[in-house]
């Protein structure tokens, strides 16, 4: 990942991108370069433009200023689970296969093509650990399994870049770790993976790159470089302590309300990260 637009080995490059809804800018002057094998977490408060940034990357929203270069890149998108119509009558395999749209001239595939496609479907589902649920209705899956199902659908598009909108939202700690591990495996196989999240400590533990966004890019780099008290306060508008644990930054909410609510000081730990 780079915010330096001079890099040329990129899959997607955003240069000075501003996107707006009803003339109100949602993201402003964003520079971002995405390369194969990138694993980037985009963090920021609600309304900071995280989802809009994903839309700008994928091309589902056009910038009002700046430019986005995509060199024949295919995108796989994993939506927020909260936005999905879970009453829709589709099974897991139907949901995953809907992304395998065919050219109109090949609307009636040969038997060999159909067999190959079914094999690929089962390979992807097995790889993601949901092979046994292929014929279940999508609502009959747990939250982690639902994430994996949409991940399988994104993988079936032969995507170069995976975009995931809050993939760890609403998941328990174990499932969250499993999903992030899985995404890390995928990016090691050469995919670029971009996620939005509120899980600061999860990305500190699993992701090599972080972008702090609050309409503009506040900071970008490794978690150690980016997750500092100053950057987080600039991003969220609220004080946060950053501790160090096993060489990783650990973010602690240091809101003054804590004192008012408990009448005590926050836990007596020594911050080792310097405010910069």
């Amino acid at each position: 990942m780079s915010t330096d637009t001079a890099v040329t080995t990129d899959l997607v490059r955003l240069s000075g991108v501003t996107c707006a809804y009803d003339a109100t800018p949602v993201i402003e002057d964003v520079d971002l370069t995405i390369e194969a094998g990138d694993f980037i977490g985009v963090v920021g408060p609600s309304g900071s433009g995280k989802s809009t940034l994903l839309r700008a990357i994928s091309g589902s929203i056009d910038p009002v200023r700046g430019s986005v270069e995509r060199k024949g890149v295919r995108f796989g998108f994993v939506p927020q689970l909260e936005t999905v119509n879970w009453d829709f009558p589709v099974t897991v395999s139907q949901c995953v296969l809907m992304a395998r749209t065919r050219p109109l001239r090949k609307f009636w595939p040969s038997r060999g093509e159909r067999v190959a496609e079914r094999e690929r479907l089962h390979d992807v589902l097995d790889r993601l650990g949901i092979g046994e649920f292929a014929d279940r209705h999508i609502r009959a899956l747990s939250g982690g399994q639902q994430q994996r199902m949409f991940l399988a659908r994104a993988l079936m598009t032969d995507a170069d870049v995976l975009l995931l909108d809050e993939p760890t939202s609403g998941l328990d700690v174990k499932t969250r770790h499993e999903v992030l591990h899985l995404l890390d495996e995928l990016r090691r196989s050469g995919l670029a993976v971009i996620i939005t999240t509120h899980d600061l400590n999860g990305i500190a533990a699993h992701l090599p790159n972080v972008v702090c966004l609050n309409k503009r890019v506040v900071a970008a780099g490794t978690p150690a470089q980016v997750l500092t008290s100053v950057n987080l306060e600039a991003t969220y508008g609220s004080p946060m302590e950053v501790l160090q644990h096993a060489g990783m930054p650990v973010v602690v909410d240091a809101a003054p309300e804590f004192h008012l609510l408990t009448g005590t000081d926050p836990a007596p730990v020594e911050p080792t990260a310097s405010r910069n």
Binding site: T91, Q94, M98
Partner: protein
Amino acid sequence: MLAITIDELLRPYEFEFFRNGVIVATVAGALCGLIGCYVVLRSMSYIGHGLSHSIFGGFAFASLIGINVFIGAGAWGLATALLIASITRRRPIGSDAAIGVVTTASFALGLAMVQVWGSAGTDADAALFGSILGVSTADVYLILAVTIATVATIIISYRRMLFVTFDPEVAEVSGVRVSVTDAVLMLLLAASILVTMNVLGVTLIAAALVVPAVVARLLTSSFTSMLVIATVVGAITGVVGMNLSYHLDIASGPVIVLVGAALFIAAFILSGVRGRAGLKGLAHAH
């Protein structure tokens, strides 16, 4: 006794208009059931309702100036859809409100035109409430052509249409041209309404679009099965409704819709029984 009953039941089939009516109603029911799955799953029921009403304005206008009713009503329906889109885009008005205003105005205009100038050569009552008397051999060929085109389009674009129906935003990101798929769906919907107008009547077409799809949804959680069940349910409502319409001497549209409503009640009860049985099974398993 049984022979007499069967004889009575088969008697209307001696008439060509009735045979044509049954064919058209069966195919129309199947067509509306099939396209209705997309209408229901995309929460477009109100558009189906509105579009059928607005097309009546086109029907009246086409009758008045003496052009082909299908071409005139089709063009009118398209103009109405564009007007709704334009109003929604330029003013802070929801699409449901815009549909309410434009389509009811179009329907009212149609009623006014028919009252003042009549509907030369065409039966306004048949267009409003449906009638087997209004069905000609040409209608049979027309509805068969639209049905074949619709089935072919759905087979060819099956995954695209499913993807856009389920998740349009992700479909767009994944390379599906959502606007084109939407336009094709609207075209199929408008064509289906046009060719079924004579049998079902514009006031009741929305029910033929919605009821079979809802019945199918109550009976299955698979999209492919829903398409098949809704098509079969639509065809059953058509054939049963037409026969009842003849024997009860009631307009075909209301009877077809009432047969659909009866099937809905049966499916509603059946799905409730199956749901309770499933919960019991879970309780025993634990």
